[in-house]
């Protein structure tokens, strides 16, 4: 199977043609550098994304505190992570970078605040 994708490792955005068999990358064409190869492998075998969203607060100066995962998580877990975040109510002050949910969905990734709240 040939999968077409755009390498997003840098702003050039090479159009890749990736030959995939059984979930494994066989061959990559269209990449102008080695990064395209790594990107195609990652994208085919285990695409990862940083999740950024907001957490509802109670009794703090801002209604919503923006948050991110401190590492990229599997793309197919984004919506599950959103559902988990929706259950969180933050009721204590946080600093930027402070953990709000430890090890979210057992993904070995923490949800951290990106804005302070008090």
């Amino acid at each position: 199977m040939i999968r077409k994708m755009t390498c997003i490792d840098c702003p050039v955005g090479c159009q890749l043609e990736v030959e995939v068999e059984g979930g494994q990358v066989i061959k990559v064409t269209g990449n102008k550098c080695e990064k395209g190869l790594t990107y195609a492998r990652q994208e085919v075998e285990r695409p990862l994304r940083i999740l950024t969203t907001t957490v509802l607060t109670s009794g703090l100066n801002v209604k919503m505190v923006p948050v991110r995962t401190n590492k990229p998580i599997p793309k197919d877990r984004l919506l599950a992570a959103m559902a988990a975040v929706r259950q969180v109510r933050l009721d204590h002050p946080v600093k930027v970078g402070e953990t709000i949910v430890k090890d979210i969905l057992n993904l070995d990734t923490d949800l951290i605040a990106t804005r302070e709240a008090f």
Partner: protein, 325 residues
């Protein structure tokens, strides 16, 4: 103010506490200006960065991939540590004269201040539905994309359940993903050009990840609905073929314009096409001692570039204050 009282004079007044104003304030302070008044209309510093919760900021300036609020926080912390920079929040400038006298409203009071040097960092605003001439009715549910971003990320409201997005610039793409993550359906992104004006990364991570269709060479020809948006008519601009999409929300992401009404009031020359000040070099305008930086000077693609040029504006203001008058 009584008739013969003169307004207080400050060495440097900066209007706008977003990335441009904050970088300019810190740079001016570093260049020796020790009396700085920073006026911000919101109750927090940071400007629009506070609602840009996605990553992609700071790759040049900090060599890190930060979210908007994280990028802002680094500047806010530095401003808070500098007592010579007075950040006046909830301070809305309503009048500016050519000799740099500013009138601003603060809760419960109206203040007048004269600036020896002035930096305008008032940012930009969104182009609206009216500016792209979409026919139809005027129901609720049509929002500029950045306003919808503020509703979701700051206020915690979801403006709709089924959206069509007009324009594939970065704000439109980012909002498509934001709606999808929040469980709303994005029916389509409609782009009149042959390609997206947004970053490739955003097309991939905001649209392809969520299987959101992107139509090039199409436009929203008509918005329909009585009280609330009910559907839109999408037209291929080449073949004129059209089809309808039901939706309750239309987000308009069709570009930004510098916000320069205050310097216009002070009779600074403005380019009527771009709404930027007529300028010989970056950050300059037609009145000496008034500097314009960030998105009110011109609309930038990257906040990192705003920071770079606004640092320069702070230094230029410091140089101006040192010149013999």
């Amino acid at each position: 103010m009584t008739r013969d009282s003169r307004p207080a004079t400050r060495d440097l007044v900066i209007v706008g506490g977003g990335p441009a104003g904050m970088a300019a304030a810190i740079a001016a302070h570093e260049a020796g200006v020790k009396d700085i008044l920073l006026l911000e209309r919101d109750q927090y510093l940071g400007g629009i960065l506070n609602q840009c919760i996605h990553t992609g900021f700071g790759l040049h300036h900090f060599k890190e991939d930060l979210t908007g609020p994280e990028y802002a926080d680094r500047f806010i912390k530095r401003i808070e540590a500098l007592p010579e920079i007075e950040a006046s929040l909830r301070s809305f400038v309503v009048k500016l004269t050519g000799d740099k006298v500013l009138t601003y409203l603060k809760p419960g009071t109206m203040e007048v201040v004269k600036a020896k040097a002035l930096i305008m960092a008032t940012g930009c605003r969104e182009r609206t539905r009216e500016m792209v001439h979409i026919a139809g009715t005027r129901p609720a549910g049509v929002y500029p994309a950045g306003l919808a971003q503020k509703m979701i990320n700051i206020e915690g409201w979801l403006p709709g359940k089924e959206a069509v997005i007009v324009g594939s610039g970065d704000i439109g793409l980012i909002m498509a993903r934001r709606f999808a993550l929040e469980g709303a359906k994005v029916k389509a992104v409609i782009e009149v050009q042959k390609e997206s004006r947004g970053l490739v990364r955003n097309v991939v991570q905001c649209l392809e990840d969520f299987a959101i269709p992107l139509y090039f060479r199409h436009r929203v020809a008509r918005i329909m609905g009585k009280d609330r948006v009910e559907k839109v008519l999408i037209e291929n601009v080449e073949t004129k073929e059209s089809f309808e999409l039901t939706c309750d929300t239309v987000l308009i992401s069709v570009g930004l314009i510098p916000e320069n009404e205050l310097i216009e009031m002070a009779c600074v020359e403005i380019d009527s096409m771009t709404n930027s000040p007529v300028s010989k070099a970056v950050n300059l305008c037609s009145i000496p001692g008034i500097f314009v930086c960030g998105n009110s000077y011109k609309v930038y693609d990257l906040v990192d570039s705003v920071t770079r040029d606004s640092i320069k504006a702070g230094q230029m203001a410091a140089d101006y204050l040192r010149e013999p008058k």
